[in-house]
Protein backbone atom coordinates (compact mmCIF):
# COMPACT_ATOMS: atom_id res chain seq x y z
CA UNK A 1 0.00 0.00 0.00
CA UNK A 2 2.80 2.39 0.88
CA UNK A 3 4.57 1.61 -2.37
CA UNK A 4 1.40 2.34 -4.32
CA UNK A 5 0.93 5.56 -2.40
CA UNK A 6 4.44 6.70 -3.26
CA UNK A 7 3.99 5.73 -6.87
CA UNK A 8 0.73 7.62 -7.23
CA UNK A 9 1.91 10.67 -5.31
CA UNK A 10 5.04 10.79 -7.43
CA UNK A 11 3.02 10.61 -10.60
CA UNK A 12 0.64 13.36 -9.54
CA UNK A 13 3.41 15.67 -8.42
CA UNK A 14 5.32 15.07 -11.60
CA UNK A 15 2.29 15.95 -13.70
CA UNK A 16 1.85 19.11 -11.64
CA UNK A 17 5.45 19.97 -12.10
CA UNK A 18 5.14 19.50 -15.85
CA UNK A 19 2.07 21.60 -16.28
CA UNK A 20 2.82 24.23 -13.61
CA UNK A 21 -0.86 24.77 -13.16
CA UNK A 22 -0.34 25.48 -9.50
CA UNK A 23 2.33 28.07 -9.85
CA UNK A 24 0.80 30.02 -12.68
CA UNK A 25 -2.84 29.62 -12.06
CA UNK A 26 -3.90 28.51 -8.64
CA UNK A 27 -1.55 30.72 -6.64
CA UNK A 28 -2.48 33.93 -8.47
CA UNK A 29 -6.10 32.98 -8.12
CA UNK A 30 -5.68 32.63 -4.37
CA UNK A 31 -3.96 35.99 -4.04
CA UNK A 32 -6.65 37.60 -6.14
CA UNK A 33 -9.39 36.04 -4.07
CA UNK A 34 -7.74 37.43 -0.93
CA UNK A 35 -7.57 40.89 -2.43
CA UNK A 36 -11.16 40.66 -3.56
CA UNK A 37 -12.53 39.43 -0.29
CA UNK A 38 -10.68 42.30 1.32
CA UNK A 39 -12.45 44.55 -1.12
CA UNK A 40 -15.81 42.91 -0.60
CA UNK A 41 -15.72 43.79 3.06
CA UNK A 42 -14.91 47.40 2.43
CA UNK A 43 -11.92 49.45 3.35
CA UNK A 44 -12.04 49.69 7.11
CA UNK A 45 -8.85 48.35 8.51
CA UNK A 46 -10.15 47.04 11.79
CA UNK A 47 -12.68 44.85 10.09
CA UNK A 48 -9.96 43.19 8.15
CA UNK A 49 -7.69 41.98 10.82
CA UNK A 50 -10.50 40.47 12.82
CA UNK A 51 -12.06 38.87 9.76
CA UNK A 52 -8.61 37.80 8.55
CA UNK A 53 -8.67 34.15 9.61
CA UNK A 54 -12.17 33.65 8.28
CA UNK A 55 -11.36 35.11 4.91
CA UNK A 56 -8.07 33.25 4.77
CA UNK A 57 -9.85 29.96 5.24
CA UNK A 58 -12.54 30.88 2.78
CA UNK A 59 -9.84 31.41 0.18
CA UNK A 60 -8.06 28.22 1.22
CA UNK A 61 -11.31 26.44 0.60
CA UNK A 62 -11.70 27.85 -2.89
CA UNK A 63 -8.14 27.01 -3.76
CA UNK A 64 -8.63 23.51 -2.41
CA UNK A 65 -11.63 23.03 -4.66
CA UNK A 66 -9.55 24.04 -7.66
CA UNK A 67 -6.72 21.75 -6.65
CA UNK A 68 -9.08 18.81 -6.17
CA UNK A 69 -10.59 19.41 -9.58
CA UNK A 70 -7.18 19.32 -11.09
CA UNK A 71 -6.19 16.22 -9.16
CA UNK A 72 -9.26 14.40 -10.42
CA UNK A 73 -9.06 15.74 -13.95
CA UNK A 74 -5.74 13.94 -14.31
CA UNK A 75 -7.48 10.60 -13.87
CA UNK A 76 -10.46 11.40 -15.99
CA UNK A 77 -9.05 11.69 -19.51
CA UNK A 78 -11.08 9.40 -21.77
CA UNK A 79 -9.96 5.84 -21.41
CA UNK A 80 -7.46 6.44 -18.62
CA UNK A 81 -9.85 5.00 -16.08
CA UNK A 82 -10.24 1.67 -17.83
CA UNK A 83 -6.50 1.13 -18.24
CA UNK A 84 -5.55 2.25 -14.80
CA UNK A 85 -8.35 0.14 -13.36
CA UNK A 86 -6.78 -2.89 -14.97
CA UNK A 87 -3.47 -2.17 -13.24
CA UNK A 88 -5.17 -3.29 -10.08
CA UNK A 89 -3.51 -0.71 -7.87
CA UNK A 90 -4.37 -1.03 -4.24
CA UNK A 91 -7.19 1.48 -3.75
CA UNK A 92 -6.06 2.44 -0.28
CA UNK A 93 -2.65 3.23 -1.69
CA UNK A 94 -4.12 5.24 -4.54
CA UNK A 95 -6.12 7.23 -2.04
CA UNK A 96 -3.13 7.89 0.19
CA UNK A 97 -0.99 8.83 -2.79
CA UNK A 98 -3.46 11.26 -4.24
CA UNK A 99 -4.15 12.77 -0.82
CA UNK A 100 -0.44 13.15 -0.15
CA UNK A 101 0.21 14.87 -3.46
CA UNK A 102 -2.72 17.16 -2.87
CA UNK A 103 -1.51 17.95 0.63
CA UNK A 104 1.96 18.85 -0.63
CA UNK A 105 0.43 21.15 -3.20
CA UNK A 106 -1.86 22.74 -0.65
CA UNK A 107 1.01 23.32 1.77
CA UNK A 108 2.89 25.25 -0.86
CA UNK A 109 -0.12 27.33 -1.77
CA UNK A 110 -1.06 27.78 1.88
CA UNK A 111 2.33 29.31 2.64
CA UNK A 112 1.87 31.88 -0.10
CA UNK A 113 -1.65 32.67 0.99
CA UNK A 114 -0.60 33.10 4.59
CA UNK A 115 1.92 35.71 3.47
CA UNK A 116 -0.83 37.36 1.46
CA UNK A 117 -3.06 37.48 4.51
CA UNK A 118 -0.38 39.21 6.56
CA UNK A 119 0.11 41.71 3.78
CA UNK A 120 -3.39 42.43 2.63
CA UNK A 121 -5.54 41.64 5.61
CA UNK A 122 -3.10 42.87 8.27
CA UNK A 123 -3.09 39.82 10.47
CA UNK A 124 -0.24 40.04 12.96
CA UNK A 125 2.90 38.36 11.66
CA UNK A 126 3.82 36.55 14.88
CA UNK A 127 0.31 35.23 15.41
CA UNK A 128 0.14 34.10 11.82
CA UNK A 129 3.35 32.17 12.23
CA UNK A 130 1.96 30.49 15.31
CA UNK A 131 -0.97 29.36 13.22
CA UNK A 132 1.28 27.40 10.88
CA UNK A 133 1.05 24.01 12.64
CA UNK A 134 -2.72 24.13 12.70
CA UNK A 135 -2.69 25.21 9.06
CA UNK A 136 -0.53 22.26 8.11
CA UNK A 137 -2.91 19.92 9.86
CA UNK A 138 -6.01 21.50 8.40
CA UNK A 139 -4.65 21.42 4.88
CA UNK A 140 -3.76 17.76 5.28
CA UNK A 141 -7.30 17.06 6.43
CA UNK A 142 -8.71 19.04 3.53
CA UNK A 143 -6.51 17.09 1.15
CA UNK A 144 -7.70 13.77 2.55
CA UNK A 145 -11.34 14.82 2.53
CA UNK A 146 -10.99 16.43 -0.88
CA UNK A 147 -9.56 13.32 -2.45
CA UNK A 148 -12.49 11.35 -1.13
CA UNK A 149 -15.07 13.82 -2.35
CA UNK A 150 -13.27 14.12 -5.65
CA UNK A 151 -13.59 10.39 -6.16
CA UNK A 152 -17.24 10.55 -5.14
CA UNK A 153 -18.08 12.99 -7.89
CA UNK A 154 -16.11 10.66 -10.13
CA UNK A 155 -17.39 10.16 -13.61
CA UNK A 156 -20.90 11.50 -13.18
CA UNK A 157 -22.23 14.34 -15.26
CA UNK A 158 -20.28 17.57 -14.94
CA UNK A 159 -18.06 16.59 -12.01
CA UNK A 160 -16.47 20.03 -11.81
CA UNK A 161 -19.71 21.57 -10.70
CA UNK A 162 -20.85 18.67 -8.57
CA UNK A 163 -17.76 18.59 -6.39
CA UNK A 164 -18.34 21.79 -4.41
CA UNK A 165 -21.85 20.79 -3.47
CA UNK A 166 -20.70 17.58 -1.92
CA UNK A 167 -17.50 18.84 -0.45
CA UNK A 168 -18.57 22.09 1.16
CA UNK A 169 -20.70 20.63 3.94
CA UNK A 170 -17.94 18.18 4.72
CA UNK A 171 -15.36 20.92 4.75
CA UNK A 172 -17.37 23.17 7.03
CA UNK A 173 -16.10 21.74 10.32
CA UNK A 174 -12.52 21.83 9.10
CA UNK A 175 -13.01 25.39 8.03
CA UNK A 176 -14.42 26.38 11.38
CA UNK A 177 -11.71 24.60 13.32
CA UNK A 178 -8.99 26.14 11.20
CA UNK A 179 -10.48 29.59 11.54
CA UNK A 180 -10.86 29.22 15.30
CA UNK A 181 -7.33 28.10 15.89
CA UNK A 182 -6.00 30.82 13.61
CA UNK A 183 -8.03 33.40 15.55
CA UNK A 184 -6.83 31.91 18.82
CA UNK A 185 -3.22 32.06 17.64
CA UNK A 186 -3.68 35.72 16.75
CA UNK A 187 -5.18 36.39 20.16
CA UNK A 188 -2.28 34.57 21.82
CA UNK A 189 -4.40 31.71 23.11
CA UNK A 190 -3.79 28.00 22.83
CA UNK A 191 -6.33 26.44 20.55
CA UNK A 192 -5.75 22.82 21.37
CA UNK A 193 -9.38 21.76 21.28
CA UNK A 194 -9.58 22.82 17.64
CA UNK A 195 -6.45 20.87 16.90
CA UNK A 196 -8.10 17.81 18.31
CA UNK A 197 -11.08 18.25 16.04
CA UNK A 198 -8.88 18.65 13.00
CA UNK A 199 -6.75 15.69 13.94
CA UNK A 200 -9.78 13.52 14.52
CA UNK A 201 -11.18 14.60 11.16
CA UNK A 202 -7.88 13.89 9.44
CA UNK A 203 -7.61 10.44 10.93
CA UNK A 204 -11.25 9.72 10.20
CA UNK A 205 -10.97 10.79 6.58
CA UNK A 206 -7.75 8.83 6.13
CA UNK A 207 -9.33 5.74 7.63
CA UNK A 208 -12.49 6.05 5.56
CA UNK A 209 -10.41 6.72 2.48
CA UNK A 210 -8.13 3.73 2.93
CA UNK A 211 -11.09 1.49 3.59
CA UNK A 212 -13.65 2.78 1.14
CA UNK A 213 -11.77 4.33 -1.75
CA UNK A 214 -12.05 1.05 -3.58
CA UNK A 215 -15.82 1.17 -3.32
CA UNK A 216 -15.88 4.63 -4.86
CA UNK A 217 -13.63 3.68 -7.70
CA UNK A 218 -15.99 0.92 -8.78
CA UNK A 219 -17.64 2.63 -11.68
Amino acid sequence: MIATARLVAGKDLRIEWRSRVLLWQVVPFGVMALVLSGLALGPTRAGHSSAGPGLFYLVVLLVTLLAINRSQAIERTPGTRASVATLGLDPGGVFLGKALALAVELWVIGAVLLAGTVLFLHTALSGSLEAVPSLVLTLAALAAAGTLYGALTGEGAAPTTLLPVLALPGFAPLLIAGERSFSAALAGGSPWEWWVITLVALVAYLAVGVLLYGVLEES
Binding site: A3, K11, T77, P78, G79, A82, S83, A85, T86, L87
Partner: protein, 215 residues
Protein backbone atom coordinates in the same frame (compact mmCIF):
# COMPACT_ATOMS: atom_id res chain seq x y z
CA UNK B 1 -8.76 -33.00 -18.48
CA UNK B 2 -11.21 -30.18 -19.14
CA UNK B 3 -9.86 -26.90 -17.83
CA UNK B 4 -12.53 -24.67 -16.33
CA UNK B 5 -13.72 -21.96 -18.71
CA UNK B 6 -12.18 -18.51 -18.41
CA UNK B 7 -15.54 -16.84 -18.74
CA UNK B 8 -19.09 -18.02 -18.58
CA UNK B 9 -22.11 -15.78 -19.05
CA UNK B 10 -25.70 -16.84 -18.78
CA UNK B 11 -28.45 -14.52 -20.00
CA UNK B 12 -26.29 -11.58 -18.98
CA UNK B 13 -28.03 -8.21 -19.18
CA UNK B 14 -26.30 -4.85 -18.84
CA UNK B 15 -28.31 -1.67 -18.47
CA UNK B 16 -26.88 1.80 -18.97
CA UNK B 17 -29.25 4.64 -18.30
CA UNK B 18 -32.13 2.18 -18.43
CA UNK B 19 -31.22 0.92 -21.89
CA UNK B 20 -30.25 -2.75 -22.25
CA UNK B 21 -26.95 -2.53 -24.13
CA UNK B 22 -26.65 -6.28 -23.58
CA UNK B 23 -29.97 -8.08 -23.69
CA UNK B 24 -29.16 -11.57 -22.49
CA UNK B 25 -25.81 -12.94 -23.60
CA UNK B 26 -24.88 -16.53 -23.01
CA UNK B 27 -21.36 -17.64 -23.84
CA UNK B 28 -18.38 -19.66 -22.67
CA UNK B 29 -14.75 -18.82 -23.31
CA UNK B 30 -12.09 -21.52 -23.04
CA UNK B 31 -8.56 -20.70 -21.88
CA UNK B 32 -5.84 -20.04 -24.45
CA UNK B 33 -8.25 -19.26 -27.24
CA UNK B 34 -8.86 -16.35 -29.53
CA UNK B 35 -12.46 -15.17 -29.85
CA UNK B 36 -13.56 -12.54 -32.32
CA UNK B 37 -16.78 -10.63 -31.78
CA UNK B 38 -18.38 -9.22 -34.86
CA UNK B 39 -21.65 -7.40 -35.39
CA UNK B 40 -23.17 -4.26 -36.76
CA UNK B 41 -22.59 -0.85 -35.22
CA UNK B 42 -24.41 -0.65 -31.94
CA UNK B 43 -24.76 -4.41 -31.61
CA UNK B 44 -23.16 -4.40 -28.17
CA UNK B 45 -19.57 -5.47 -28.81
CA UNK B 46 -17.96 -2.79 -26.68
CA UNK B 47 -20.50 -3.38 -23.94
CA UNK B 48 -19.74 -7.09 -23.90
CA UNK B 49 -16.01 -6.48 -23.61
CA UNK B 50 -16.53 -4.02 -20.78
CA UNK B 51 -18.66 -6.56 -18.96
CA UNK B 52 -16.02 -9.26 -19.39
CA UNK B 53 -13.34 -6.93 -18.05
CA UNK B 54 -15.35 -6.11 -14.95
CA UNK B 55 -15.57 -2.47 -16.02
CA UNK B 56 -19.36 -2.37 -16.08
CA UNK B 57 -21.69 -4.05 -13.61
CA UNK B 58 -23.96 -6.94 -14.48
CA UNK B 59 -27.63 -6.01 -14.16
CA UNK B 60 -29.30 -9.40 -14.57
CA UNK B 61 -28.33 -12.95 -15.31
CA UNK B 62 -25.19 -14.70 -14.17
CA UNK B 63 -21.58 -14.33 -15.09
CA UNK B 64 -18.23 -15.61 -13.88
CA UNK B 65 -14.94 -14.42 -15.37
CA UNK B 66 -11.57 -15.72 -14.22
CA UNK B 67 -13.30 -17.17 -11.22
CA UNK B 68 -14.86 -13.86 -10.20
CA UNK B 69 -18.62 -13.63 -9.95
CA UNK B 70 -19.66 -10.55 -11.90
CA UNK B 71 -22.78 -9.98 -9.87
CA UNK B 72 -21.51 -10.42 -6.33
CA UNK B 73 -17.73 -10.84 -6.47
CA UNK B 74 -14.95 -8.29 -6.20
CA UNK B 75 -14.58 -7.07 -9.75
CA UNK B 76 -11.33 -5.37 -8.85
CA UNK B 77 -9.65 -8.76 -8.58
CA UNK B 78 -10.85 -9.47 -12.07
CA UNK B 79 -9.67 -6.19 -13.52
CA UNK B 80 -6.21 -6.84 -12.27
CA UNK B 81 -6.01 -9.87 -14.54
CA UNK B 82 -7.32 -8.16 -17.61
CA UNK B 83 -5.58 -6.12 -20.27
CA UNK B 84 -7.75 -3.53 -21.98
CA UNK B 85 -7.35 -1.82 -25.34
CA UNK B 86 -10.20 0.63 -25.83
CA UNK B 87 -11.40 3.06 -28.45
CA UNK B 88 -9.55 5.88 -26.73
CA UNK B 89 -6.00 6.22 -25.53
CA UNK B 90 -5.54 5.23 -21.98
CA UNK B 91 -2.69 7.15 -20.43
CA UNK B 92 -1.76 10.25 -18.58
CA UNK B 93 -1.61 12.79 -21.37
CA UNK B 94 0.86 15.04 -19.56
CA UNK B 95 3.45 12.34 -18.99
CA UNK B 96 5.86 11.20 -21.65
CA UNK B 97 5.49 7.84 -23.37
CA UNK B 98 8.28 6.39 -21.28
CA UNK B 99 7.01 7.78 -18.00
CA UNK B 100 3.62 6.22 -18.61
CA UNK B 101 5.23 2.83 -19.04
CA UNK B 102 7.43 3.34 -16.02
CA UNK B 103 4.30 4.04 -14.04
CA UNK B 104 2.78 0.78 -15.24
CA UNK B 105 5.98 -1.10 -14.44
CA UNK B 106 6.11 0.19 -10.91
CA UNK B 107 2.43 -0.52 -10.40
CA UNK B 108 2.96 -4.10 -11.53
CA UNK B 109 6.35 -4.65 -9.93
CA UNK B 110 8.05 -5.19 -13.25
CA UNK B 111 11.60 -4.02 -13.86
CA UNK B 112 12.07 -0.84 -15.93
CA UNK B 113 14.21 -2.88 -18.28
CA UNK B 114 11.01 -4.24 -19.84
CA UNK B 115 10.13 -0.81 -21.16
CA UNK B 116 12.74 -0.23 -23.84
CA UNK B 117 12.15 -3.57 -25.63
CA UNK B 118 8.38 -3.05 -25.56
CA UNK B 119 8.74 0.43 -27.05
CA UNK B 120 11.11 -0.86 -29.69
CA UNK B 121 8.74 -3.65 -30.58
CA UNK B 122 5.79 -1.32 -31.16
CA UNK B 123 7.99 1.17 -33.01
CA UNK B 124 7.82 4.02 -30.54
CA UNK B 125 11.46 4.03 -29.51
CA UNK B 126 11.98 7.45 -31.10
CA UNK B 127 8.95 8.93 -29.37
CA UNK B 128 9.84 7.74 -25.88
CA UNK B 129 10.24 11.28 -24.58
CA UNK B 130 7.28 12.79 -26.36
CA UNK B 131 4.30 13.88 -24.30
CA UNK B 132 1.54 11.35 -24.81
CA UNK B 133 -0.90 14.13 -25.71
CA UNK B 134 1.08 14.77 -28.89
CA UNK B 135 0.98 11.27 -30.29
CA UNK B 136 -0.94 10.48 -33.44
CA UNK B 137 -3.98 8.22 -33.26
CA UNK B 138 -2.01 5.17 -34.34
CA UNK B 139 0.87 5.91 -32.03
CA UNK B 140 -1.55 5.98 -29.09
CA UNK B 141 -2.73 2.55 -30.11
CA UNK B 142 0.85 1.39 -30.27
CA UNK B 143 1.52 2.77 -26.84
CA UNK B 144 -1.48 0.85 -25.58
CA UNK B 145 0.03 -2.27 -27.11
CA UNK B 146 3.36 -1.57 -25.43
CA UNK B 147 1.52 -1.23 -22.15
CA UNK B 148 -0.07 -4.64 -22.73
CA UNK B 149 3.31 -6.10 -23.65
CA UNK B 150 4.71 -4.94 -20.35
CA UNK B 151 1.69 -6.26 -18.49
CA UNK B 152 1.21 -9.60 -20.21
CA UNK B 153 -2.21 -10.17 -18.62
CA UNK B 154 -4.14 -13.44 -18.64
CA UNK B 155 -7.15 -12.04 -20.44
CA UNK B 156 -6.81 -9.62 -23.32
CA UNK B 157 -9.85 -7.57 -24.24
CA UNK B 158 -9.29 -5.66 -27.45
CA UNK B 159 -11.93 -3.29 -28.80
CA UNK B 160 -11.33 -2.90 -32.53
CA UNK B 161 -7.61 -3.39 -32.18
CA UNK B 162 -6.91 -2.71 -35.84
CA UNK B 163 -8.46 0.74 -35.89
CA UNK B 164 -5.92 3.49 -36.58
CA UNK B 165 -3.05 1.05 -37.01
CA UNK B 166 -1.04 1.00 -40.22
CA UNK B 167 -0.06 -2.23 -41.96
CA UNK B 168 3.08 -2.72 -39.95
CA UNK B 169 1.10 -2.17 -36.78
CA UNK B 170 -1.49 -4.73 -37.79
CA UNK B 171 1.16 -7.28 -38.64
CA UNK B 172 2.72 -6.65 -35.27
CA UNK B 173 -0.60 -7.16 -33.55
CA UNK B 174 -1.25 -10.43 -35.40
CA UNK B 175 2.13 -11.71 -34.40
CA UNK B 176 1.56 -10.66 -30.83
CA UNK B 177 -1.78 -12.42 -30.63
CA UNK B 178 -0.26 -15.68 -31.87
CA UNK B 179 2.40 -15.32 -29.20
CA UNK B 180 0.13 -14.65 -26.29
CA UNK B 181 -2.48 -17.25 -27.12
CA UNK B 182 0.31 -19.80 -27.44
CA UNK B 183 1.52 -18.69 -24.03
CA UNK B 184 -1.89 -19.50 -22.56
CA UNK B 185 -3.68 -16.15 -22.54
CA UNK B 186 -7.30 -15.76 -23.55
CA UNK B 187 -7.97 -13.08 -26.14
CA UNK B 188 -11.31 -11.53 -27.00
CA UNK B 189 -11.32 -8.94 -29.75
CA UNK B 190 -14.11 -7.05 -31.42
CA UNK B 191 -13.50 -6.30 -35.06
CA UNK B 192 -15.03 -4.94 -38.21
CA UNK B 193 -12.00 -5.77 -40.31
CA UNK B 194 -11.38 -9.50 -40.61
CA UNK B 195 -8.55 -10.53 -38.32
CA UNK B 196 -5.70 -11.70 -40.47
CA UNK B 197 -3.96 -13.93 -38.01
CA UNK B 198 -3.84 -17.60 -38.91
CA UNK B 199 -4.57 -18.49 -35.32
CA UNK B 200 -7.52 -20.83 -34.88
CA UNK B 201 -10.37 -18.83 -33.51
CA UNK B 202 -14.05 -18.68 -32.73
CA UNK B 203 -16.30 -15.98 -34.07
CA UNK B 204 -19.34 -14.76 -32.17
CA UNK B 205 -21.85 -12.60 -33.97
CA UNK B 206 -23.76 -10.09 -31.90
CA UNK B 207 -26.95 -8.32 -32.87
CA UNK B 208 -29.31 -6.32 -30.72
CA UNK B 209 -27.33 -7.07 -27.58
CA UNK B 210 -27.48 -10.87 -28.00
CA UNK B 211 -25.28 -13.55 -29.53
CA UNK B 212 -27.03 -14.57 -32.72
CA UNK B 213 -24.41 -16.86 -34.21
CA UNK B 214 -21.26 -18.65 -33.13
CA UNK B 215 -18.75 -20.51 -35.22
Amino acid sequence: MTAPPVAELEEAVVLTGGFPVLAGVTLRLEPATLTVIVGANGAGKTSLLRLLGGLDPLSRGRGVVAGVDLAHGDRRVLRRRVGWLGHEGSFYDDLSVEENLHFACRALNRPFTDVAPALARVGLAERSRTTTRRLSAGQRRRLALAWLLVRRPEIWLLDEPYASLDDAGRALLDELLVDVVAAGATVVASAHDPLRTTQTRRTLTLAGGRVVAAS
